[in-house]
Symmetry: C2
Subunit: 333 residues, 2 copies
């Protein structure tokens, strides 16, 4: 097994990426790692290169403000494009990046390409859920304008993921909607409802956005625009609540004492709500395992993403996806 890692992407690259890969490489000596990026900069953080790590030198950098598709087409020697190429050429089974999400999605689609039966890939983080194993939301931004059949394909991909990765026997699939009753919603959600209801998946119906963390389903589908709004609203509200709480606590000595006492409770709470704790977000529907680790990934996050990727590969997740998508009569590309 070989995993390609973009050494240059993320807020703490390359140092933390390199440290994470070295730790994982020591732990899993039977796995090969390809560190992709500026060789000199990578080597600054390595005393002795473990035998199962190779460095693939790249010298181009995709800037944050570049238009992703154009950047990926132009900068063929950027770390993210080269990592994707390793997957495309079957030199690696998987790629991991903590870099630019737009460039990651563009490289996935343009360089690696889709699985048969998949019209569009989906970026699919797992949201925390109260008392549950988490809910995979797909798509959160790979496709802005979706068609009902994309949502069905994503429901299948998500179901296989949650089954293979978390052992959920018959993952419950929900559809993001404005009400729980059938017949609610916009044109897309109404049409998707029909399609999902007829498919041989465990469709549990519409899920309102207020229940996204209520463990009502294991897989939650929507178009990428809606998913992005859902994800970002959740982030924004959580950060507003914790920020306001902090500034309210600062206003009096007695509140400061209360805040101090509750510090461990707040920490536990933050951990429970942080979807990054549930690992990186896979980009599902591509012909390879592609994981987006969050931008602020430290070595621990990278190690977690590597474990997640190994489980993905070891459980033959991609093969199962290919099989399901090509065998199901309801899937029309």
């Amino acid at each position: 097994m070989k995993i390609a890692i973009d050494a240059m992407g993320g807020d703490y690259a390359p140092a933390e990426i390199v440290y994470g890969v070295i730790e994982s490489a020591k732990k899993h000596q039977d796995v090969l790692f390809a560190l992709v990026g500026d060789e000199n900069k990578i080597k600054e953080h390595i005393n002795e290169l473990p035998k199962n790590i190779t460095i693939h030198h790249t010298d181009e950098v995709i800037e944050v403000d570049e238009e992703p598709v154009r950047a990926v087409k132009k900068k063929k020697n950027s770390s993210i494009v080269v990592a994707a190429k390793l997957v495309k050429e079957k030199q690696a089974q998987a790629m991991i990046t903590a870099g630019n999400t737009g460039a990651f999605m563009a490289a996935g689609l343009l360089v690696i390409g889709r699985l048969p039966g998949v019209a569009r890939p989906a970026l699919a983080p797992v949201f925390p859920s109260k008392g549950g194993k988490g809910t995979m939301v797909l798509d959160v931004g790979a496709n802005m304008d979706a068609k009902p059949e994309y949502l069905l394909q994503h429901a299948i991909l998500g179901s296989i993921y949650m089954n293979k990765m978390l052992g959920i026997q018959s993952p419950r699939v929900g559809l993001v909607n404005i009400g729980s009753e059938a017949g609610k919603g916009n044109e897309l959600s109404k049409a998707a409802y029909q399609l999902l209801e007829q498919a041989s998946i465990n469709f549990v119906g519409n899920i309102e956005a207020r229940d996204v963390m209520a463990d009502k389903c294991d897989v939650l589908v929507c178009d990428g625009f809606t998913g992005n709004i859902l994800l970002k609203t959740a982030e924004g509200v959580a950060s507003t609540i914790f920020g306001t709480l902090k500034s309210e606590i600062k206003k009096s000595l007695i509140a400061k004492i209360g805040g101090f006492i509750l510090l461990p409770t707040f920490k536990t709470l933050k951990g429970k709500l942080d979807y990054h704790e549930y690992g990186g977000a896979p980009l599902l529907g591509l012909n390879g395992a592609c994981i987006k680790s969050h931008g602020s990934s430290d070595r621990r996050a990278i190690m977690n993403a590597i474990e997640q990727t190994m489980t993905f590969i070891n459980n033959n997740t991609l093969e199962e996806m290919t099989r399901e998508l090509t065998n199901r009569s309801e899937v029309v590309e």
Copy 2:
């Protein structure tokens, strides 16, 4: 000035609705109030009827699970339909309800009707914003599938509302989108961006959902599906955070003490985050002032909604909307 109030809508109807109206009627003896609902049930809560309140008896009830449009068409003697009729027939300038949102929107559209230049009305609550006067989000559910021109009309309506009601000189208008740069988003948001940029409004560009409470704009437009997701996600995340916090605090004595000390802080925080504190949600674009008070309205909430409605009428908000929408060349119905 006469205000029609649906006495039968809401969790605490008719008692709390009636109490709120009586208080307001005593305070504002120059304003007339029409209490619409079951006369016997209303009278149970009244010792002496103030002279400026009249009761309009109705005997039909729209149930929670009824399809709104059908219910409004069929149950012509339900409190919400009769209240809307009073506005339509100019017997009242405004209506307030704490009842079924769907029935309210249907009654507004079918009975009261739209202002000239408005293709679709918008349900428009004001979200709390950090340090600001709040951000009006429209639409949060009146129209599932929007066209770019609806968003422009809503931007104009929202701007006039925030100017007339909160005294904001040149309200900043934002567009809900997945990124701050121009050219981002789905087909609707891309087209709406062009339209908003060219209009003579104070357009400040795309606003990411994570910044909805960050006081980046005074008016935020999106289609009703997106707005609903935004609103419900915010509600759901806030309730999950407070719920989890509560159960975490219960886990140890020391945390309970911390929680007890911080009780007033939590209360302040909840108040700051509660968009209901910002008044009822107007349904803008109708030929009358229509306010949706929240379902759990008590007498205080009803009194607040009445104050809000009086400001709406006293500041000639509707006349200004009519003028702007008919005079602007960029508005195409």
